[in-house]
């Protein structure tokens, strides 16, 4: 049977659109530098719409007969839509930023699209080589984007760290894959699962070493402790919208890959890796949230906060049940909306003030009440307050962990999320209590005002009426557990 090429239309759209954006940029040198971003946003929107058409499609992409390298199902569709949605918002918040601070606007937007494409392929991959290449595609785009501000030392340094450590972690990841291949003799997820359920006991150690390396590699991508060290630096050095993208696209795609790999291919060996991920999850959430208490830079704060969130999401991977899957997907969406809102606010502030220090937020409530209030919404959501998106998404994660026999981990998570409240409140305090350093009110540009408003409404929507999204996430996760 020939591969069904029609399964990949969203990917084609992104690839062609990316080329188009570069072409437009090259051919019209006089173009204002925020236009390519808007253009690319349209492309991401188109790809997202095309993805929606695949609802309830359940088909494999067979490169050669019998070898399904990609699979389009509701899980794929959910993540595709999420990733395209993230890309739209990233590009919208990038436009003014790129215009003011970066060169090569066309390439920038095109690479954002390609990164999204890489993320989508990561989600779809059901074969180790494919998934890994997709992972590399995403990573390469990020290496480039993080060091995109070529003349800025920080951006350059962040790119260097991310790149070298990324290459290192890729090597670890590949070594793990090679061991798994050695044990099972195949690279397709289904084949691996079949081989693992019939394995002999003597192979356990090779398998465990393989898992350790794979977890290290993926742990690096999702920024789990102790593989997280690059994260704060990359977050601080990257161009601001790319920081937002690192914390959303990169994380969502890596987790989608992580979860699919471990629940379809490695599930028969669940006992072997469950404790590893649970352990990492516990360390990650405590470490991230505790170190966040000491941060003075907003981006580093969000880096550590996102590390804490990774700890929460790892609960779902460790639990590896359908409920855990739906709560992971659900949390990803809620987290993406919240984080995008927070970062759009930071972008607006940064565009105007050129600062991302927490201390410079002082008196934001007086200078721009809308931004301050929106930020409070985002922070409350991240802290997991009811009526904000973060409450249900986190709650479902904890519950699914508890249900899967990881009571202690859920307990740690509840405590960690209490700690997080403290540093979020410090930011709120800065905005509301401390007198402004620089006087004068300012306005939020209309477009970004709208973007923030939409995201804030999204945060409340998910917090008050989570049922529709949760249903979607549940249907999506169910596809991984049909067998």
């Amino acid at each position: 049977m020939n591969p069904d090429y029609s399964l990949l239309i969203p990917e084609y759209i992104l690839a062609v659109w990316a080329a188009l954006v570069v072409a437009v940029d090259v051919m019209m040198p006089k173009l204002r530098r925020d236009v390519p971003a808007y253009l690319a946003a349209l492309g991401a929107l188109a790809a997202g719409i095309a993805s929606v058409l695949y609802i309830d499609v359940n088909k494999g992409f067979e490169a050669i007969p019998g070898v399904t390298i990609m699979h389009v199902d509701d899980y794929t569709t959910y993540m595709r839509v999420l990733l395209c949605g993230i890309a739209v918002f990233i590009l919208l918040m990038s436009a003014q930023f790129v215009r003011m601070r970066l060169s090569h606007a066309g390439e920038y937007s095109a690479i954002v699209l390609v990164a999204t494409l890489g993320g989508m392929l990561m989600v779809e991959g059901t074969e180790l080589i494919t998934s890994w290449i997709a992972l590399e595609l995403l990573s390469f785009c990020f290496y480039t984007l993080v060091s995109f501000a070529r003349r800025e030392l920080r951006s350059n340094e962040a790119g260097l760290k991310y790149m070298l450590l990324g290459a290192f972690s890729t090597a670890l990841f590949l070594y793990g894959l090679s061991l798994i291949y050695g044990v099972t003799g195949t690279t397709t997820y289904d084949g691996i699962a079949a081989a693992l359920s019939n394995r002999g006991e003597d192979l356990t150690l090779a398998l465990v070493v393989g898992f350790v390396f794979i977890i290290a590699g993926l742990g690096f991508k999702v920024a789990a402790v102790p593989f997280h060290m690059y994260t704060p630096d990359a977050y601080q050095g990257a161009p601001l919208p790319i920081t937002a993208m690192l914390s959303t696209t990169s994380k969502a795609a890596a987790f989608a890959l992580f979860f699919r790999l471990f629940t379809t291919a490695f599930l028969p060996a669940h006992e072997e890796w469950k404790w590893m991920i649970a352990l990492i999850a516990a360390v990650t959430m405590m470490w991230g949230n505790l170190v966040a208490l000491q941060q003075t830079n907003l981006r580093r704060l969000f880096a550590y906060s996102s590390i804490g969130q990774v700890g929460f999401m790892l609960i779902a991977v460790a639990a590896a049940t359908q409920d855990a899957g739906s709560s992971l997907l659900f949390h990803m969406a809620g987290y993406a909306v919240t984080n995008l809102a927070a970062f759009t606010i930071i972008v607006v502030f940064f565009n105007r003030e050129g600062s991302d220090e927490i201390a410079d937020l002082a008196g934001l409530a007086e200078r721009q009440p809308f931004l301050a209030l929106a930020m409070v919404t985002a922070l409350f959501s991240l802290a997991g307050m009811p009526l904000f998106a973060g409450f249900f998404t986190k709650f479902m994660l904890f519950v699914s962990g508890w249900d899967a026999g990881l009571e202690w981990l859920s307990g740690v998570a509840v405590v960690a999320s209490l700690i997080s409240l403290y540093y979020y409140l410090m930011v709120i305090r800065q905005m509301y209590v401390i007198a402004p350093r620089v006087p004068g009110r300012f306005r939020t540009p209309a477009l970004l005002w709208g973007v923030i408003a939409v995201l804030v409404v999204g945060v409340f929507f998910l917090g008050i009426w989570p049922a529709p999204l949760l249903d979607a996430a549940d249907t999506a996760a169910a596809f991984l557990f049909r067998a």
């Binding site: 180790l128 080589i129 890994w132 290449i133 590399e136 390469f140 290496y143 480039t144 060091s147 070529r150 003349r151 030392l153 920080r154 350059n156 340094e157 962040a158 790119g159 260097l160 760290k161 790149m163 070298l164 290459a167 290192f168 890729t170 090597a171 670890l172 590949l174 070594y175 894959l177 090679s178 061991l179 291949y181 050695g182 003799g185 195949t186 690279t187 704060p232 630096d233 601080q236 050095g237």
Partner: protein, 102 residues
């Protein structure tokens, strides 16, 4: 024929040497080269498993070809970033790139 274990041990040794290089070297290019060593260890593993355990299909071979290709791309990208570092700071020593910390 050489037993498979020998190839695997060679691979593991190569991997360890590469890992040592990453930890011990300070020059960005050398770190990159050490990573290449680790990737080649992976290739050895893949080919050994392929040849000794499952000669057909040649999945391991295909995998290693991809690893080589991607490694080349990675080297290109990394060198571009290192070049940028060199232009900005006149050094390729990663220890001196420590603006971002804590």
């Amino acid at each position: 024929m050489i037993p498979m274990e020998h190839v695997l041990i060679l691979g593991a040794a190569l991997f360890a040497i590469g890992m040592y290089g990453v930890l011990a070297r300070r020059n960005a290019v050398l770190i990159l080269l050490s990573v290449e060593l680790m990737l080649n260890a992976v290739n050895l593993n893949l080919i050994a498993f392929n040849v000794y355990l499952r000669p057909n299909p040649a999945t391991g071979m295909v995998f290693s070809v991809f690893v080589i290709v991607i490694a080349a791309a990675e080297a290109g990208l990394a060198l571009a970033i290192i070049l940028r570092l060199f232009r900005n700071r006149r050094t390729a020593n990663v220890d001196e790139a420590d603006l971002l910390k804590w």
